[in-house]
Assembly symmetry: C2
Homo-oligomer: 512 residues x 2
């Protein structure tokens, strides 16, 4: 595995180099932060109150984001970007190209793709013109793209938001708007090689993010269908029963059985036979065992699925990840479009230390083979076999966020390297000239937007926001043609010739 950094706990700051000061300096910084924050607010309030118009009538107006959605604060954005960078770099390591598709599709593109979940699609209002829906995943748009461009093969990744009108249970990291990171391989290839690579990618990402131990459950839609057939499920009910089985990770077998019998009209004895199968899970030996199963072994579809799983395990062993994989007959995956191997990664334990609250995050990655989806878009039904995976980054964000909260972790939300300060009044002009020089040299720099800020206010700003260097210009410096360079951490100050300033700063930044 590449040395991807830890993403949580005390290690966070060091790993991403966001916070390089020793603990004592951090304490000072936080105290300053509080005291300065208050005085800033007081000033701002005073200014605002003096400007405020006579009280305007407002209705009972609640400012909020839509149900099931949220803003990402700068702190959250830093965490998100680091995680997405790692995921994308893994996708690129496996040779994937980028792709982007519109947030909405023609409504008809999404119909008959998602089974029972179709009711969760957001439609746009008919404002004249086409009927549109927000995309529900990144897989159907990918299949539409392949069919539209008559592409027979492609390995692509796509990071983007999708929208689902689910009852949001935000505490578990489930939203109505959420980010997906998808990797898919389209094309007619020899069996199970791309499928094995998809599982390898999930392993690399979950190991790399160090979320704790995990397991990838694997099954095959053909084994499920074979199982349904030998148990006596009518073929017309396969999809419906599959959807029920899919709930086994959330509700008990008793409740799933009740749904199948009472709501979906399955005979109780058929349900019980399914019940016997879905309790089975294990490694490659379970595949062998199912080959011997007197009923499954009579079913052509099931045998095809088992044959492919056997080959898959062979490749997974070569990749060194077979012990992370569990053949699990209860895994069903809700979406209609899967046709072969399916998989779902779950964290085996909450990644919590003893003092952390347990966090139920459910599956953190999933996917499977969908050989018929592209053909649904093609006028002649030409098929392009596909297999892919989706990383549940929202749930991963939840875990990392909670860890950081537990450890009281602080993250820099800006990357500013240099602050331009002055101890004197009427030095705005010099500060502006100086900072333009830094920007033009590519140096990340800030100043306070005040004509005459206090020096202490300026230095506090640096400590609060983690800016490592301050350049100070005043009358003395101007006279001598120098600039004072201050190292925030050590409070050391050195005078540098004005004309050497940029070079000196670049030297120090490249060394640090």
């Amino acid at each position: 595995m590449p040395q991807l950094a830890l993403l949580y706990g005390r290690a966070w700051a060091a790993l991403f180099g966001q916070l390089r000061r020793p603990p004592r300096a951090v304490c000072i910084q936080m105290v300053h932060s509080r005291s300065q924050g208050q005085s800033f607010l007081q000033v701002a309030e005073a200014v605002l109150t003096s400007q405020q118009k006579p009280h305007q009538e407002k209705s009972n107006f609640i400012i909020k984001t839509p149900k099931g959605t949220r803003d990402l604060s700068p702190q959250q954005m830093v965490v998100r970007e680091k995680i997405l960078d790692m995921v994308v770099s893994c996708f690129k390591r496996h040779g994937a190209k980028g792709l982007d598709t519109p947030a909405f599709e023609l409504k008809e593109m999404l119909t008959e793709k998602y089974g029972e979940d179709s009711g969760l699609i957001y439609d746009l209002k008919d404002q004249g013109g086409e009927l549109l829906s927000l995309r529900y995943d990144l897989t159907v748009p990918f299949a539409r793209y392949l069919a539209m461009n008559k592409l027979k093969k492609m390995k692509r990744y796509h990071v983007g938001k999708v929208w689902r009108r689910e009852s949001p249970t935000i505490v578990q990291g489930r939203y109505r708007e959420f980010c997906q990171c998808d990797f898919d391989i389209a094309g007619q290839f020899d069996p199970m090689i791309p499928d094995a690579e998809c599982l390898k990618i999930i392993c690399e990402i979950l190991s790399g993010l160090q979320l704790g131990d995990f397991l990838i459950k694997v099954n095959d839609r053909r084994i499920l269908d074979g199982m349904f057939a030998v148990c006596g499920v009518p073929e017309s009910k396969f999809h419906a029963i599959c959807s029920s089985i899919d709930k086994l990770d959330k509700i008990s077998w008793k409740d799933v059985r009740h749904e199948m019998v009472a709501k979906k009209g399955l005979a109780p004895e058929v349900a019980d036979q399914i019940g016997d199968y879905v309790q089975c899970h294990g490694g490659v030996s379970l595949v062998e065992q199912m080959f011997q199963d007197p009923r499954l072994s009579q079913n052509k579809q099931a045998l095809e699925g088992l044959g492919d799983l056997k080959l898959l395990f062979e490749y997974l062993t070569l990749f060194g990840i077979a012990e992370k994989i569990s053949f699990d007959l209860s895994l069903a995956r809700g979406l209609d479009y899967y046709t072969g191997v399916i998989y779902e990664a779950v964290l085996l334990q909450t990644p919590a230390q003893a003092e952390e609250e347990p966090l139920n995050v459910g599956s953190v990655a999933a996917g499977g083979r969908y050989d018929g989806l592209v053909g649904m878009f093609d006028p002649k039904g030409h098929k392009v076999p596909c297999v892919g995976l989706s990383i549940g980054v929202e749930r991963i964000f939840s875990i990392v966020e909670q860890r950081m909260k537990t450890f009281g972790e602080k993250v820099r939300t800006t990357e500013t390297q240099v602050f331009v300060a002055t101890p004197q009044k009427n030095f705005l002009q010099e500060r502006l000239k100086l900072i333009a020089e830094l920007w033009d040299a590519g140096i990340k720099a800030e100043l306070l937007y005040k004509n005459n800020p206090k020096l202490l206010t300026q230095l506090h700003y640096c400590e609060n926001t983690g800016i490592p260097l301050v350049v100070i210009i005043g009358e003395q410096e101007l006279k001598e043609g120098v600039i004072k360079l201050r190292l925030v951490a050590s409070r050391e100050e050195v005078a540098i010739k004005r004309e050497n300033l940029v070079a000196e700063i670049q030297k120090r930044l490249s060394e640090s």
Copy 2:
């Protein structure tokens, strides 16, 4: 200016290091590409046809993206990512934090913010629950975020899609779904310092992208309002007349005048007085001239605006960008929420060389001050002054794309460093073990998903996709405990001990 690379023309490939082979190798590669592409397609077709189900009935089903939207192909994604990286790195250089908001907002959040453009907002269908609309820009969500979190100051950037139901004229780079890159400074500060920084940022980005010469038109809403007042426009018509003036960069004064008089009921002599003013544009001397204007100088609002512009020009001179700025009384900006300085950057000439077709891209960046917007969300009307800018990246993409087309530029769409190949049959297992080793070491690697690919097919794949290194394993190598490393460009081959392979590849990649 930081040395941001050229983004187009022949320089493109060299700049981004996507294509390092000499021209001859490129030619060979393209020939291979064609011949191999065909044979691949033929094979794929044969396989697919044999698999194809009996012809399925399909309605007259056209596969397309919604009107005014498009997919971004891997080639386009590479261009887009490079441009966005440059824009974001400039925003970070100026100390901005990242922020993300949902794609849709409560419908009421967007009402009364966009004036005549409100009809272009996409509403979501009422499916029970809240009434929602897709965001129309990133500015209103930012203001909503500030008010919701009671933030009095923030410097943030936001890169995201927005949606507008405009009549799409895609040829000019106008879409109904498009990406915006926004930078905004919220807070009560001394006048014109943040405003000047916004203009500096626009200059840095447009210079850095080397799109050719550009000009930033500047005006002030208070000067416009003052102008309307002294010309005799009734106050109730200010917004409507402002919207008409905003069209001056697209339609002639004659047509704008007709709209004002015939559609908006303005007296013809009032329109003519406005006509005299909106012809004026120039540098800081025009600001001085307007201070002397017998009518404008009687208007308090206009004087405030002129005073601020004078100060702004002083700061722009210190930043070294005053010659890029033109005070232009015809600049109005369509959106309702601006209250002070407004600006819009236009390319002065098409960036085309003689042989290129001219490309009308209109404005490539714009923004202004909106001191009242946050207050519209606050129950008590508390204001937070804001100023910001938006980069029109879609139009910039159009320019760069057209240039690349003109020059027949080729861009690598993957980053794969090493290809794992074999000259013999039955070497899939060895290839899989080898590639897993590379992936685990963080090396970007690919292989063909075939049990027994031909060596030539494998080598062609590397040349077609620009992979620089091939590791080859066969019977001979397996026996001797070595791997053959082939340099695609020079076709040189060296034998390396199997256990040293990863280290050797890492060494070569770090050197290249």
